[in-house]
Symmetry: C2
Subunit: 102 residues, 2 copies
Amino acid sequence: MKQAKKKSLEEKGWRVGDVQEFLKLSREEAAYIEIKLTLSKNLQDYRKSKHLTQGDLARRIKSSQSRVAKMESGDPSVSIDLLVRSLFALGASKKILAGMLE
Amino acid sequence: MKQAKKKSLEEKGWRVGDVQEFLKLSREEAAYIEIKLTLSKNLQDYRKSKHLTQGDLARRIKSSQSRVAKMESGDPSVSIDLLVRSLFALGASKKILAGMLE
DNA sequence: TTACAATATGTCAATATTGACATATATTTA
DNA sequence: TAAATATATGTCAATATTGACATATTGTAA
């Protein structure tokens, strides 16, 4: 955007640059959420493939059934760290993790 | 381990099973730490390849230079979440992330 | 149906992670 | 060299994540 136009808009009260910033942020936010959902889904598949209940997995990682449920439902209160640690507890490796993201 | 042997050891005060549990935990812990270090190193390379200072990156992710330094040094106070969000802020994609873990 | 097992949802105190700050230590440039 | 710039390290109050709990809902076998 030309400086003159930018200045003109700013004089009218617009915060120029915010749209681009918004788009960039939402792109990054979307990528972040997508990763969490990918890990969530894979965790559930992985657990089921081992014929474990949420309670079983909870015991293994010293957590609770309700937290495992939140992990698998993509609850925003769950960190990537916890998802990754849970996958490792089920026997996944770094390579397997990489495969989940492809 | 045979049950008789196990019982005998337990009578002597040993917590049998702890060794296996310790090994399993350390295996998972090692994998978790390895992932963080991998992301740390890649973050630094990625940042440098874009000719940005730690301060520049800090501004982009609304954090501080000191936290970026901790991210790149593999400081245990840094979460995978923060590392991943930072990589996305530098333009990385899910696929690129996967490549880092291979 | 009715038990029973598994999963989902909401809450919260305890714990972990965070950005910010001060300041030390490189590293680069004039 | 010295000054400027970049990075490292320690601390801490604010915020986010956590396990635990209660309880609701869903699935499932008798």
